[in-house]
Subunit: 266 residues, 2 copies
Amino acid sequence: MNIAIVGAGNVAWHLAQALQKAGHTITAVYSRNKAHSEDLTKHLPNAVATQELDLTTIVADVVLIAIPDAALPGIAEQIKVKPETIVAHTSGSQPLAVLSTIAGANYGVFYPLQTFSKHSPVDVKQVPILIEGNTEATIDQLEHLAHTISQKVERVDSGKRKQLHLAAVFACNFTNHLLGISQELLRKANLPTDLLQPLIQETIKKAANHNPYAVQTGPAIRNDQNVIDEHLRLLQHQPHLQAIYQALTQGIQATKGNNYSSDQST
Amino acid sequence: MNIAIVGAGNVAWHLAQALQKAGHTITAVYSRNKAHSEDLTKHLPNAVATQELDLTTIVADVVLIAIPDAALPGIAEQIKVKPETIVAHTSGSQPLAVLSTIAGANYGVFYPLQTFSKHSPVDVKQVPILIEGNTEATIDQLEHLAHTISQKVERVDSGKRKQLHLAAVFACNFTNHLLGISQELLRKANLPTDLLQPLIQETIKKAANHNPYAVQTGPAIRNDQNVIDEHLRLLQHQPHLQAIYQALTQGIQATKGNNYSSDQST
């Protein structure tokens, strides 16, 4: 397929190169900042760098819009494509309908579920790509395109994508904050911040292979009120950490009824 | 060294076999339940299974007590050893002093910082072992013993071990609960529960190599109130999840001042 990319950031960087490697031709890369698009077109022998959102002169079966979520509605209003072109965005949090204003086009979502940084390599084959489209034919074509770069392609509509985004906030954004708190506590105790790494790795592995509620350990699930009180005392000058500790302790205790297993090895 | 083990659960199981593999002799395994100690002594050619806490007749330079935290004070009161024996417990949350009642003995802590399950193999070499003791000589001997099975040995006193335990509750117990919530949300949306695995793996990897506060992403750190409100609306019938969402969102926003980086690639 001939593909044009709108955006030259982290997602554009990895998708464009994965698509080219899979045999597709990247014909153009749009960025407001020409230096950014040229950084990327250097790696794409058939692509021109453009600062023009009228893409009717570009050869493209698909235009992929890979820009920050907040910029998407504004770009969608300005973009122009040939009527036979499919336009798809790569955002997790924006609905399909944000592209409905693009005159004549078929439109969809092509959402790679991963966090990308330009200079760290990602095995795109392992990255789930979530597909949505305004017609069955559009979905088919985007699905076909996704399968050429990833082994994990799923149809997910905007409603489900919203639930997925919420799940990702818990599993990734919030988890990252807990790991930050943990490192802060280790630093304050003059302990190496990597001391918990083996335990963290094992926790993630276990949670992937079981229902996490069933393998929950620690003072909350044991109702060990002495330890809980002592922890809250240790956090007495950090009200945000106390609030997080209490909310999670109560959450864990609320799961006890239906999902608790007696496996209390740690 | 000659070592006796009190307990035949997950920790005893892995420690006893790692110590034997390192060239030590396990001379006895105590368990209230004889079938449990015999399960373990089957793998230890020189060990007897015993139901007796008077260990004065057992040849042992070190007695390791690897039993549930709550049972430790009771066992410590009953145990008897020869005066030259070192007694150490393997608990993360119990202080050194819980062993101070054992007549004549030197005592310490030999705490392997990992979650163990009998039937899943653990590379003990990579497990940090945290050492404490009532005398410098005891610490030296326990440290020496720990180095024979692990590459990561640290001296950590009871006060620091308490801080470490608190950090582990955030990084492991609470993280596990967030992963449980995330799987619950995916299940409710009829999405595969492993869909977020690549993103979770990348989150953990990133947090290990950076200050997590500096690589925080998501609606909380972006102050994206529309998304936050929508998420709270989606959770309206799950007050525990709402409370967790709000506490973590406020916690993330509170870190914004000093540690926030502008890297907002996802």
